[in-house]
């Protein structure tokens, strides 16, 4: 056991300040363990959100020494013995109290995305999709909605452009639907005009903080940017579609296959 110093931000939406606590830290403990110890013995009214303690629910995301992290997955032995641990709520969202932010804005973004629309079945009445195509989509399904990618995104965090950008979490939500071989919805226009994919300047912080190691930028956002380029900015593809009458996405194919 060793005594460690914690600086925890205490307050609410009106304001607050850092309060220093000293606590004994045992071998193998994570930051959430120490916060629970502080809550039990020194600050019974400390507000923090947690649930699974296994890095799978995304509840205990907070900023630890300035970086968005899951408190339950941040081992204390990552830090130098004399280092003070600073805990703050996520910056990108309003504070409810202490370390608990109000992340409801994210759920509103989710509702803006057109849901999965299944293609018509094959001639034998079955829907088929193959593992190689699904692997690509499956990566995005690992998201635990900790919202650390939303927090670290400077467009939302520092530039206050929540009006223009839905954030990296919802870029990969769209990517997961758009790349699904059985999906028949067209979200490319809303990706450009409403969800604001162009606001992302691909500085990859979202990918760096993702606890599920989802390659948000390379596998999600950039492929979506490229699909927007296909549709709106590539003069050759636009001319090709105009000449041949072909559309990029599958809506027409559905109509054609229904006719057949």
């Amino acid at each position: 056991m060793a005594e460690r110093t914690f600086r925890i931000w205490r307050g609410d939406s009106e304001g607050g300040d850092f309060v220093e606590y000293k606590s004994e830290v045992g071998e193998g403990q994570v930051v959430l363990d120490v916060l629970h110890t502080i809550q039990a013995h020194q600050a019974n009214d400390l507000a923090l959100r947690w649930n699974c303690k296994a890095g799978k629910c995304g509840s205990c995301s907070m900023e630890i020494n300035g970086k968005p992290k899951l408190a339950c997955m941040t081992r204390m032995n990552m830090y130098e013995p004399g280092e003070t641990i600073t805990c703050q709520p996520l910056k990108a969202f309003p504070v409810v109290r202490d370390l608990v932010p109000d992340v409801s804005w994210n759920y509103k973004q989710n509702k803006r995305i057109a849901p999965f629309k299944c293609k018509p079945a094959d001639a034998d009445g079955k829907h088929r999709m193959y593992q190689e195509d699904i692997d690509r989509v499956q990566e995005f399904r690992k998201c635990i909605e900790c919202f650390m990618c939303q927090d670290v995104c400077h467009v939302l965090r520092d530039r206050d452009r929540k009006d223009a950008f839905a954030g990296p979490r919802y870029m990969i939500r769209v990517a997961g639907l758009e790349m699904n071989p059985l999906d028949d919805e067209d979200r490319i226009p809303e990706l450009k005009h409403e969800l604001g994919v162009a606001m992302c300047n691909i500085t990859r912080c979202c990918t760096e903080v993702c606890p599920e190691h989802i390659n948000i930028t390379d596998n999600g956002i950039i492929p979506m940017k490229e699909r927007v380029v296909d549709r709106f900015y590539d003069p050759l593809l636009i001319a090709f579609r105009a000449l041949t009458g072909r559309r990029k996405r599958t809506k027409l194919r559905t109509v054609e296959s229904t006719k057949e």
Partner: protein, 276 residues
């Protein structure tokens, strides 16, 4: 949209402000110095217009040679120039450097590259300089990301098409490097040129636009459950894409080094060990 509650939580605000105690600035600073060094050298080398050819080695900054100025020291022989000798109508106030005629495409490819965009947005534009570090001009509605003035970044795929054409040209240069005056032989410069073409290939094949166009644009690359050529190419590009940053830096360094090597051999500063 409803107005957000005021951001509280003890977070510092302003350019470079952060609660991070680590040396977050080392990465952007190293990137800044690395790119600045390359840009300075590449500009200097491109404007020289001489000492870009030695033995049978052609500097990649000058390949392909469209016109050659035979009066310049260390210039390519006329059979190496696609359009022959430098035209007389060329304005005298413009430098006679073959590099200036062709570098716009690889330079545009690098400038609009998704990796380099990250690199210079962070290290040159401070947008943001690091993760959870305050960016330059953080507040207000003036930030438009890659919209408006930066819409030209969407032309990356066209620079990629051009960059793809350079790969066989650079391999052909490396092949020709083994023939000095019609005699087959081997020199250190041959391997320098060969490695340069290989590294540039690795960088180009991992390009995000290439990966998209080769297969990523499709939702179904394995119809009937069988891996198609499209799927195999996409998997190959995905492997390179995962190492895109590494290949971006290594190929950047090596293309500069290749020019320097050819230049120093041409100037007689260093000796090229070879069998000729």
């Amino acid at each position: 949209m409803s107005k957000q509650l005021p951001v509280v939580g003890g977070h510092p605000t302003g350019f470079g402000a952060t609660s991070r105690p680590d040396n977050w600035w080392v990465g952007p600073a190293a990137t800044f110095l690395g790119l600045l060094t390359f840009l300075a050298y590449a500009h200097w080398a491109a404007f020289q217009g001489e000492h870009y050819y030695a033995h049978s080695y052609l500097s990649p900054f000058y390949s392909p040679v469209l016109w050659t100025d035979l009066a310049a020291a260390g210039s390519a022989p006329v059979e190496h120039a696609w359009l022959g000798i430098w035209p007389e109508w060329w304005p005298s106030f413009l430098p006679k450097s073959p590099a200036l005629l062709i570098l716009v495409f690889p330079a545009g490819f690098r400038f609009t590259c998704y990796y380099y965009r990250k690199a210079y947005y962070r290290s040159f534009a401070g947008s943001p300089p690091g993760c959870s570090v305050g960016p330059m001009a953080p507040s207000g509605k003036t930030y438009h990301g890659e919209g408006r003035l930066l819409l030209f970044q969407n032309l990356h795929r066209y620079f990629m098409y051009a960059a793809l054409l350079y790969i066989p040209i650079l391999f052909y240069d490396a092949f020709l490097a083994f023939y000095n005056g019609g005699n087959w032989g081997v020199g250190v410069g041959c391997f320098v040129l060969l490695l340069n073409a290989s590294l540039l290939s690795c960088y180009t094949l991992g390009c995000h636009s290439f990966r998209h166009l080769i297969g990523g644009r499709s939702d179904c690359m394995t119809p009937c459950g069988k891996a198609t050529t499209q799927f195999k190419l996409w998997k190959m590009s995905t492997w390179f894409n995962g190492r895109h940053m590494a290949f971006a830096w290594v190929s950047l360094f090596w293309v500069g080094f290749t020019d320097l090597y050819v230049r120093l051999v041409s100037m007689g500063v260093i000796h090229d060990y070879n069998t000729w």
